[in-house]
């Protein structure tokens, strides 16, 4: 994470990311931002959480530092550490420190994947103190008013063992996401992939039918992102059935009978 090698300004979005609001999430996020409250985005994979943060970052004109959390992520990776450079030992800010110092938005994606000690590091940033202690450096960084901490997680597929601690959960304003209603999802697929409305409508119908299988062996339904991928492949000239099999059917299950039933659902549309 050589954050210092990049300028903070590199994290500023210059172009508006496409985002179609599904409810009052934009207003809610802005209100939380103005009140300097951290935000938690909950929702299934591929429903638009990350895109929403990007959109809000652009809308609020703040830099966006995204950290994809994983089980080997340590608090040092997040906050910063001393590294050797030639004969010197220099301190290198982690992405969270960079975001705090620059007054940007720090977005910890899939935070539940990170180690428990890592999530505790963010606690002082999420209450009225709004500080980030750099223990190794013996320094406390005060977050400017513009700083915003956002985390996301998917409560659907994560196990009980990986659930967020209540002491962490109860520090955030939660905005819940789900797959968009059919008409809005159709608009999103048209806008993101460039397919015509008829094709988008078929893709959305397939997506909605396949999502009906969520409690019958599918861990997660087809995400809007996968529908967009299917549209992009179709737009690139791939046969619709093949495009759907490659993006909707095969990525979401290895169960051959489930795959076969999804193929049959695709066949009802194309």
């Amino acid at each position: 994470m050589a954050v210092e090698s990049q300028r903070v300004e590199d994290f500023r979005l210059s172009k508006e990311p496409y985002y179609l609001p599904l409810g009052n999430e934009v207003e809610l996020f802005e209100a939380a931002y103005n009140a300097r409250l951290p935000v938690m985005l909950k929702g299934p994979t591929g429903c638009g959480k990350t895109r929403f943060v990007e959109h809000m970052s652009w809308r609020l004109k703040r830099t966006l530092v995204t950290v994809a959390c994983h089980e080997d992520l340590t608090s040092s990776d997040l906050v910063g550490k001393y590294t050797l450079q030639g004969d010197e030992t220099i301190w290198q800010d982690g992405p969270l420190t960079t975001a705090v110092k620059s007054g940007g938005i720090a977005y910890l994606d899939e935070v539940v994947e990170a180690r428990k000690d890592t999530t505790v590091v963010i606690h002082p940033l999420t209450d009225d103190r709004r500080v980030l202690p750099l223990e190794k450096k013996g320094e406390i960084v005060q977050a400017p008013d513009e700083f915003q901490l956002v985390i996301s997680y998917n409560p659907g597929y994560q196990s009980v063992l990986k659930d967020l601690k209540h002491s962490t959960k109860q520090r955030f304003v939660a905005i819940e996401f789900d797959y968009p209603p059919a008409d809005l999802e159709e608009t999103i697929v048209v806008s993101e992939s460039g397919v015509d409305t008829d094709t988008a409508s078929k893709l959305v119908t397939i997506g909605r039918k396949v999502r009906n299988l969520r409690t019958h062996g599918l861990e997660e339904g087809v995400s809007t992102r996968l529908l967009v991928y299917a549209g992009q492949l179709i737009q690139a000239g791939v046969e619709p059935v093949e495009a759907c099999e490659a993006t909707i059917c095969k990525p979401i299950t290895d169960d051959l009978e489930m795959q076969r039933s999804i193929v049959e659902i695709i066949a009802t549309q194309f």
Binding site: N212, T215, H216, M258, I262, E264
Partner: protein, 362 residues
Amino acid sequence: MTFGPTVGNVGIYVAREMLASVPEAQRQAYLRMVEGISELKYQLGVEVARQLPRLLAERDDALVERYLREVTDVATVGWKSGVEVAKQLPDLYGAPDTTLAGAYVDIVTRATSGVGDEADTTGLAGELDGLERELRNIEPKVKRANELRTQLAARDRRDEKRRKHAVELAAALPPILARLRPRFRSAYLDLVRQVAAVDPEASLEAADTLLDLLNSERVSVEGAGQWVARGLVILERNREVGRGYFRMGSKYALDVLEELKDGLALKDVARILKLFATALAGRDVAIRSAGEAAGSDTYGAAHIVLPTEMSVFDSDANNFSAYKVATAHGAGRIEFGTYGFSLDDIPGTVGDLRRRYPQETR
């Protein structure tokens, strides 16, 4: 060294120096004598070959002849005594008392053969010969008796095993019959009976397999009959392979079944159709086979009844499509609530219609 055609193996007993000590003219005769006596026992030949040159040197043919006869006589009753006599006798011939040699031979002969036992010995030997002949005659019968004993023991074991499997079959059949659909019971029992008549162990396997085949309707009753008939051929040829067939543990058994089945079995595609219907209808839909749901509605609020086997087309792919069409049809009815209607709803519906269309219903 070559001694000519009469010499044979006598060279083994005659050392070169012994032969050299015999006058040239007597050598062939010497060798013949040694060879003759050696036929009784080779140790005898060795000793005679050693002593004969002395006697031949005296050129007394009668003495040589006596020597050979007396040695032979003694050796006939005991070869070890013969060897000793062959060694001592030439010295005794030279004794002043000419009767001494004869007496010596007589004593040794009697001592060797024993006094008064000869008749007994001959009798015993004769009896022994007779018994041995009888034993030789009886040996094939003993061998055959052993074979029969082994065969009967094997049959006993087989019978024991058969009885054990018959008991197991007796215990297994009632619960199987309880699980078997009543309409298959008669045919099922007939098929199991055919297998049990050949091999009770195989019939145990067949009882389980036929239960599955008939209940799931993977084959018709006629198909099951053909499947059993093909299995019986295998069973007659090899019990173990036949049992594997009826256990459905051989590729051949599966191939025969595939060959006999009429179309695509619902059992093989039921889960795919269930998922398909559930996805279309947006609620949990069960797939039930016509046999399982006999007497109930083809379509219900949460289930679709399909034939246990689809054999409208030749190919499985087309038969699957036929299943799919029927499933989609049922799923559509479930999704849009065709069967959600109840007569109890009518009063409420009439009231709603009156409120909504007051002019038309006045």
